[in-house]
Amino acid sequence: MGPPRDKQVALSTFSYVFSELVQYNMTKIRSSAELEANLEKLGKDLGKRVLDALFHRDRLTKRELTEVGILQFISTTAWKALWGKAADSLERSTDREDEYMIVDSAPLVNQFVSVPANLGALDCAALMAGVVAGILDGAYFAAKCTAHPREEGGTVFLIRIGHDEAEEQKEPELVEMRPVLPLADRALA
């Protein structure tokens, strides 16, 4: 991966392609959780490739051995290289030792996304969460990363390090997608 990193395209061009990607995936899913899972899977493939390229370019010859080290690398270097600015913060969860949070107050991919009401908690930054998981995976950390919208805007990327067997066996939760009807119609139906 050699090309200089400062090459750019218009953000809107990316958004058009991303929107096609999401729309295409919308045709194949039953719930918003499934859409997020699809985006995470795509992101994961992407993250694995990115890790090598970033290490190569920054001439980093040693791999990160600590969770905090790699997460710092992700939230600053990788974030900046991929999404133009460092993440707003990296925090460790107070409840659990193995849980971390990266906060981005305005994720790049969500710039032009508005989530329809019937898809409730969907966050298209799931693609970015996938990338984070992919990078961690490539750096030999088993981890899960999920994106959650914040009430005040922006996205929290929740990262859980380590295998979680109970989680893995669970089927993704099915949330019924229903068009939002006005109240009167709902009474009739």
């Binding site: 991966m1 090309p3 990193r5 090459k7 750019q8 395209v9 218009a10 953000l11 809107s12 061009t13 990316f14 058009y16 392609v17 991303f18 096609e20 990607l21 729309q23 295409y24 995936n25 194949k28 795509l42 992101g43 493939d45 992407l46 490739r49 990115v50 390229a53 290289a81 991929l82 999404w83 133009g84 790049l108 693609l127």
Partner: protein, 196 residues
Amino acid sequence: MAQQTPTSNSVKALRARGDQVWARMPKCNAEFFRLTYGALVVQLVEDCDDIKEVNDKLLSMGVSIGTRIIDEFLAKSNQREPCKSFEETCEVVGRVAFKMFLGVEADVRNWNEDKSRCSLVFPENPLNENVELPPGKNFLYSNIICGAIRGALEQILYKVDVYCIKDTLRGDDTNEIGITFVSRLQAEMDDQYKES
């Protein structure tokens, strides 16, 4: 020679405008863009039975992008008045729109006699870097760009045929997209808007 001077002047003007508009566009890392597009293509390849289906799908995605991208183009590109000819339209697509959205300029060449067919030549394609295609398949990786041009021109009532001619991914020396003028469309109202 006398005729060439105004054309090259306007090429210069268009190029300057392209640079100017490009400088004002919010941008995003080309690598992330490319990887995301790659992920989309991979997903399509996995889902479709043959390459032709993938090519068609990419084209139709492009058309749907094109119908929306034209609005942004007209809003941001300082295009004060409509183009006067198909030739001028193609120049604007290559010099301004390409620069504005993809960060590269496309050269408009190979006009036929009655100015109804030309090709956009751009040695550097932001979609193509770090991509390798499986050999021996007629894979049109940049078909989405063809679709976008078609969709956009359709909105300004040009029916055109857009197709890939050369692609560096397939071993050609440059990237070339052909545009052929088919007809002018008529702006028509849908029946439901007509007064009865």
